[in-house]
């Protein structure tokens, strides 16, 4: 099977089969990323179409300094941002920093309710994965993008920092806040579920 760079070369030469192969390879992940970042199937599909159009229009200017995947995701996130602004945005959780509460000594004011021992791999796959997918669009935009790219897409920290144009430290802070907020929401549902 051709690697992405070869497919991009063939696409540049006007080979439709190379376009079809890239779409087969990336459209499912592109749509998942779009849905997670705009939170609306119709807008996500539109953002994906615009992304592929931008790919065929811009492939001559793609110099291979990043991977094709990173380039594709960057175009999508820019499109998704524009689309989300045009459409009604999903309800956002407030973007206050700390989710956890500590006392004046820095100890837990309200310790987390224990539920981790009741969660096994089956519950994670069958129930929690669907829940976090529903919860993701409610995160503030940058947290949502970092969490989706890191924890759902599995991109490396440096790839995500470069893609979003943020520092490694900022990337980690956004990841931390996003995960913490999702943990809190899961906790609210699982903690009382005895």
């Amino acid at each position: 099977m051709d690697d992405d760079a070869q497919l991009v070369d063939r696409l540049r030469a006007g080979d439709e089969r190379a376009f079809v192969e890239l779409v087969r390879r990336y459209q499912p992940r592109l749509l998942r990323l779009a849905e997670m970042t705009v939170g609306n199937r119709a807008v996500a599909e539109e953002a994906c179409q615009e992304t592929w159009l931008a790919v065929v229009r811009g492939v001559d200017r793609f110099e291979g300094r990043s991977t094709f995947k990173t380039w594709l995701f960057r175009i999508l996130l820019n499109r998704a941002r524009t689309s989300a602004r045009r459409e009604q945005s999903p309800a956002r959780v407030d973007s206050g920093d700390a989710v956890e509460r500590f006392d004046e000594h820095g100890a837990w004011a309200e310790p987390p309710t224990a539920w981790s021992d009741r969660v096994d791999d089956r519950i994670v796959a069958e129930r929690l994965a669907g829940r976090v997918r529903e919860l993701l669009p409610a995160l503030p935009e940058q947290q949502r993008q970092v969490v989706a790219l890191r924890d759902v897409e599995g991109l490396a920290p440096a790839e995500v920092s470069a893609l979003l144009g943020i520092s490694d430290g900022n990337q980690r802070v956004l990841l931390h806040r996003g995960r913490a907020r999702l943990r809190e929401r899961l906790s609210a549902e699982l903690g009382g579920d005895r």
């Binding site: 006007g14 439709e16 376009f19 079809v20 779409v23 087969r24 459209q27 499912p28 992940r29 749509l31 998942r32 997670m36 599909e45 179409q49 592929w52 159009l53 065929v56 229009r57 956890e100 500590f102 000594h105 820095g106 100890a107 837990w108 310790p111 987390p112 224990a114 539920w115 981790s116 021992d117 969660v119 994670v124 796959a125 929690l128 994965a129 669907g130 829940r131 976090v132 997918r133 969490v147 924890d151 759902v152 599995g154 920290p157 980690r172 990841l175 931390h176 995960r179 913490a180 999702l182 943990r183 899961l186 906790s187």
Partner: protein
Amino acid sequence: MIGFWRRRRRAIVCREAVALMTAYLEDTLSGADRRRLEAHLADCPHCMEYLAQLRITIDALGHIDVADLPDAALDDLIALYRRWRDD
């Protein structure tokens, strides 16, 4: 007495432990911070539980599945390509 103060200075509280957890999971903590966090976790069941919950959250995110590409969606994108090419 000096040993006591050194230990006091090294010890961290829950708020700091939570703040270090993402860097801990990324394996980007300095050796000293990692030891401080691990010492705190060994003594604090609440922070240990919090870390376990964070790991479950990350695991759940990694299990969000990808839908198959329906033929109709592929056909739509091919049509898009041909319209662009023939323009």
